[in-house]
Subunit: 336 residues, 2 copies
DNA sequence: CACTTTATCCGAAACGTTTCGGATAGTTAA
DNA sequence: TTAACTATCCGAAACGTTTCGGATAAAGTG
């Protein structure tokens, strides 16, 4: 546990000089600097980030608030992909990552601001937060730099990265329409999620632009869960058999819909077309494989981190980034 | 940013008393304690963990070294599951998690000990490290408390959690033997991974105990990759068509094997049986679904964290934990 | 009454950095 | 020659805690 002080003793200079030498200041002689560097290496010195953080009031760490890291969320590893992206960027830009779990009640005892201030994180990335989460309000009022994944809130200190969910949903529904479908239902996710509202909007726009009437009772809530989606689709199918296509706001729900159809003896895509959203790993493995709207969650994470660091270093021109989505055609949709 | 000092001023006591009041020491009057607590709440105080860590020489954080958080590793989310388990336990036991990425060359500039000491982590969990990784040697020599996932190294300060990989592999192969197979090949993973050695051992034991000769050239290396496994199985099949079953050391490789068979016009399981290892999510979604050896990675992570915290708090009786594996029968194996 | 206890409190040092405001000696410009 | 620079260094304060070793006064003990 050698400190700057140890080095200063060996080198016969003050701690000030050691500090300045190590940090590349110009007011230290090249020879002394070399000597100090050598001694530091020899003594196997590594700086104490706690002490440094204490005086500098920053810690080179980014806080990561994730929900959906529980046992159940293993099926769609969107969360993991985002995390990988963040991690990648963060280590490139020389920050460290500290993980907060917002699912745990334990951590819920602390407010958002407390959480951040205690650990002196320089900035925060938030992923998977719901619109009605009290944390969100705090985020907007706080002055801690923050980037939200998939929630478009922008203030002086908070930015976001997202895909254009309206456009994405529109693409999906337009694809169905191009295939000749007119009776298109939608399985949406929890409407406490921002993306749900957006995808619904895209669905409605696509229909309207093509002169198709939106029917309220054809829009059902699958809560982003496979099981739930299966149930609602089951009752949807029995009440309105004229439906020929279903747009699902997530692949997981699309898989639920798939099961519902199979249970009803309908074959996908011949009897009914299903299109999903996300392009999760499973999408290409289920039978029939899912046609879907792909979003690159790894990139989403990467961009989120990149944006945050830009903001921290004062070189962010704008505080949001919008990524592209892409239609991926597989086997679950067909022309009628 | 209220500090303990601010509180002391308002309360008219010394910082010592505030500190001791907040930390529940007995030598402070209940009334003053109450007053202090109230003021603290009112001033919205939260302690500075940096300052605390500096003087206490510990930080209530656990370092997490993971490899396999890159773009490619999205398919098997074993890593993610472990991470979820760790996260869950860690937040229950009131620690925070700091993430180090060992893939990045950036972080590789620092030694393991540097990484840990700089951040003053109390302990470390390491996941996905290879046997020939220089970090591993450092871990064993260092005095930083550490728990390894799936590498059985035990010293005064390091422990591990793993499954019995020999037994797991043995179960798999025995299952094949029970189904009447005698000509059983093995696709192993990189032999720089500890689990590979173990699973190979289990394979050999199972064969020997049943009087079947182990053939060296029936054991091939798929490097834990789907593509690679496909290739080696392809050449295996053409050179030794008498093989009736393949034991793969991971589900991902089993999927590669599956593809290889299909490409050769063999139908699984009728022409050839395939058994995997891990029970990843995809295992139940591929066709035919994979019979495999399940290990509960969430629990693995949870136990790793639990063990580490036990060690940190001096209440670990033993420094290793062994988890169970389970045979999961699906469609990829059949009796001959 | 002269002590020992007990209940409360506090001052100051310590943790390992960074940085502000000089200090010193040699060099340059006028 | 003298004033102004320049290059190089350093002392000390500051960051926000914890904790050791007392200090004070009231209460108990014989």
């Amino acid at each position: 546990m050698t400190t700057i002080k140890d080095i200063s003793k060996v080198a016969g200079v003050s701690v000030t000089t050691v500090s300045r030498a190590l940090n590349g200041y110009s007011d230290v002689n090249e020879e002394t600097r070399k000597k100090i560097l050598e001694i530091a290496k020899q003594l196997n010195y590594s700086p104490n980030t706690l002490a440094r953080g204490l005086v500098m009031k920053k810690s080179q760490t980014i806080g990561l608030l994730v929900s959906g890291m529980n046992r159940e969320s293993v099926k769609d590893n969107l969360t993991f992909q985002v995390l990988c992206g963040i991690n990648e960027c963060v280590s490139v830009r020389n920050y460290d990552l500290i993980l907060f779990n917002t699912d745990s009640t334990r951590q819920r005892e602390k407010t958002y601001t407390q959480l951040c201030r205690e650990r002196k994180v320089d900035g925060v990335i938030i992923q998977g937060i719901k619109l009605d989460d009290p944390y969100l309000k705090e985020v907007m009022e706080s002055d801690i730099p923050c980037v939200l994944v998939d929630i478009p809130v922008e203030t002086n200190t908070v930015g976001y990265v997202t895909t254009d969910n309206v456009l994405g949903a529109k693409k999906a529904v337009e694809h169905l329409i191009e295939l000749g479908h007119q009776n298109i239902a939608m399985v949406n996710g929890s409407n406490q999620a921002f993306v749900s509202k957006q995808r619904l909007k895209g669905y409605e726009i696509a229909l309207k632009e093509n002169g198709i009437k939106v029917k309220r009772n054809w829009i059902v809530d699958g809560e982003f869960k496979e099981e739930m989606a299966k149930e609602v689709v089951l009752s949807l199918l029995s009440s309105t058999p004229e439906i020929t296509a279903i747009f699902c706001a997530s692949d997981l729900m699309a898989m639920g819909a798939l099961k519902a159809c199979q249970e009803q003896g309908l074959v996908v895509p011949n009897d009914i077309s299903i299109i999903g959203y996300d392009d999760i790993l499973l999408a290409s493995y289920v039978t029939p494989s899912l046609t879907t709207i792909k979003q690159d969650m790894f990139e989403m994470g990467y961009e989120a981190a990149d944006l945050l660091v830009d903001m921290l270093e004062g070189k962010a021109k704008k505080r949001h980034r919008i990524l592209e989505t892409k239609l991926v055609q597989r086997e679950s949709c067909t022309r009628i």
